[in-house]
Symmetry: C2
Subunit: 409 residues, 2 copies
């Protein structure tokens, strides 16, 4: 990573934008006027390709092509075709990634399939892990009568010595810390256990190399940095050699070796495809397909480098304001977002929104800024931090209107 | 059901169309020129409302509204809102139906949740049931170490005496026979067992009354007679009184009582909402939302009555050709499709397709004609049967080009 000077003035930020090799990507996005969107870590924005692909699928493939589009538009192969496009973004091989279901369902399927193969049948999850991951682990453990153990983030590496299964996010949704995947995989391999990596805050942002670090199982969502659209389907990675050992606990027709034989007997498809169950949501697949176009020809390491610089700028200015920075200082250890703690976090986020700057709030007191590098400019972050500085210094968050809670925050 | 004369000539069919109280519904659909679409039982066609809703969701809600649309466009309540619109079509109450996941996943969740509560922990499924239903039952039984039993369709009512759980389609995907739901529910109730009804070939076609017959659990897909779009999400019904007794084995954040508290501890939402797990595919929900508009103000019994007449016309003409009719003669006992057996089923379907008449083929020898009453006219069926008669009488299916297999049939 080359060292660039930290901007000290808006002009410096403008200069960085002029020199930005990713600057052209912004043109691919449909962004509303007057909005600085720092929530790409929650829901990525639409690209022109994504909305065009949706329209083609609705108007031509569905309305005109009807049921024949399963063949002619190759809908039937969306799970693999999309998986093959995500594979290079996470250091997986073609045929090792499938797109289907939600992260919740994929975590469940993977954990249920892996547990019979590990030394200790305990399902482990960190106690500050994304809640759904904790719920799913608890649900599965309860169903099959096996133990579920909550461990601390600090203690999870050691806990792997038991030989159990750990569900773990590569990038923490709270502070953005990137896990040392290799250390975890080594510990799991040594003990006869396994890790299911949740790549939801990772894919399209952090250059993970699943094969290189020995990872065998992962899932993640596609609606954050991949910009696949609201509720876009999840993906699922199983290392090729491991796939043949696993049984999908929710076997569906599309994971059958020969789905159109309509046999009463289930025979799993080769590789990760056996984890596909029901019919994929084609409109959502279409959106994701279009969304992935902007990643073609780009290296995830370049994306992470720019996101790191945008985050560094945010952190430097937040520190100057005396704010509580909860994310790692070192951008190499940080995913795409920066978390700041403030007791008035919620009204601050509302006050920013009134100025067209969208960030998000996570209870009880965390403001998160996401730095999607494909459409954000250095000046966007500079200006957002100007606004934050004004709101914080002048206690503008005191205004009662900023304290009204929305249903979803 | 009033008795209408069976058409004996094209003019008779035209007269029935002129008198058809559902004739106006056809205008809601986007149908390609020159196509007679008899595959609505597989993938319903697009309506103008569905494609318009998709476009609004993509261009306005996603591209302009961004993450805020979870609130402003009420994306967050799609599972319940869509469920409440499906409820009256199946004789359920508001709050008893949720839209989420696929049929495979919903069957799994329901069966896993119900098994602890029945007298006998055996999961039963008929041996000619839709394959996915069989696979899911086998997958779940294997996972939790409980027995799974395949029973014959003739024997399934008796098998309920064990007090186990039966997964059963109301309308058979093979021959279209409608099950006597009340008899099954009485047998299950008497023995302390339960039934999970698969309404995939039922919803929007057959006027089931879930409450009236004592049904407590059901799921189904929305891409057939509801025209929700390719891979549209599934729905799930749990009778209100039963819901509080059930635990979702795949608990996800959206089935939490307070999803935005992001608590480590799972507390289920009230009612069927607890069966929602991950983030719903919003684009697919939007399509379904638009698609449901055409059902507003219509009675399912009227739809079934017209579909019955269209099917009767098909059967009468097929019998006149000496074809093997595999569906019930009595349209009150038949769902929306008619199955004909013929050793040359596949090339016959291809020969029909060349004439713009789309039917489907199910291995090894079944031709299925679906009679979606909202867009099909009596003349469509008359003309399709004319074409079938010509193909069968003149053995036009012998042409080698009709024997080339498509990937998906």
């Amino acid at each position: 990573m080359t060292t660039l000077p930290m901007p000290n003035a808006r002009e410096d930020a403008e200069a960085l934008d002029r020199a930005d090799p990713l600057a052209d990507a912004r043109d691919a996005f449909l962004l509303p006027e007057g909005i600085t969107y720092l929530v790409g870590h929650s829901l990525g924005p639409a690209t022109q390709k994504a909305t065009a692909r949706i329209e083609t699928t609705a108007q031509e493939e569905w309305a005109q092509g009807l049921v024949g589009s399963w063949n002619t538009a190759d809908w039937i192969h969306y799970p693999q075709a999309l998986g093959d496009r995500i594979a290079p973004l996470i250091g997986a091989k073609a045929g090792e990634v499938a797109v289907c279901d939600s992260v919740s369902v994929n975590l469940f399927k993977l954990a249920a399939a892996i547990l019979p193969l590990v030394r200790d049948k305990t399902l482990m999850v960190e106690d500050d892990e994304f809640p759904t991951d904790q719920y799913v682990a608890e649900g599965l453990a309860g169903l099959i009568g096996q133990p579920m153990q909550r461990v601390s983030r600090q203690g999870s590496l050691d806990a792997l010595q038991s030989g159990g299964v750990l569900i773990k996010s590569v990038v923490s949704y709270r502070d953005g810390l990137i896990a040392d995947m290799r250390a975890y995989e080594e510990a799991a391999a040594k003990a006869g256990g396994a890790i299911i990596w949740d790549l939801s805050h990772t894919v399209g942002m952090v250059p993970v190399a699943l094969h290189e670090v020995g990872a065998r199982f992962a899932t993640g969502c596609t609606y954050k940095y991949l910009n696949g659209g609201p509720g876009a389907p999840s993906f699922l990675f199983v290392q090729m050699e491991a796939a043949s050992l696993l049984s999908n606990p929710i076997p569906g027709w599309l994971g059958h070796k020969e789905p159109f034989v309509f046999s009463s007997r289930y025979e799993p498809a080769e590789g990760v495809q056996r984890f596909v169950a029901g019919t994929p949501g084609i409109l959502s697949c279409a959106a994701l397909s279009g969304a992935l176009d902007v990643f073609e020809g780009r290296r995830v390491s370049d994306l992470h480098e720019k996101a790191g610089r945008l985050g560094d700028l945010c952190i430097a200015r937040a520190q100057a304001l005396g704010l509580d920075v909860r994310s790692p200082d070192d951008c190499r250890k940080r995913g795409g977002h920066v978390s700041l703690g403030h007791e008035a976090g919620y009204p601050i986020v509302r006050a920013l929104a009134e100025r067209g700057i969208q960030a998000d709030f996570r209870t009880p007191d965390t403001i998160r800024f996401g730095f999607s590098p494909l459409f954000l400019r250095y000046v966007d972050v500079w200006d957002a931090m100007d606004a934050l500085a004004e709101i914080v210094r002048d206690r503008l968050w005191d205004e009662p209107r900023f304290h009204v809670r929305a249903k979803v925050t």
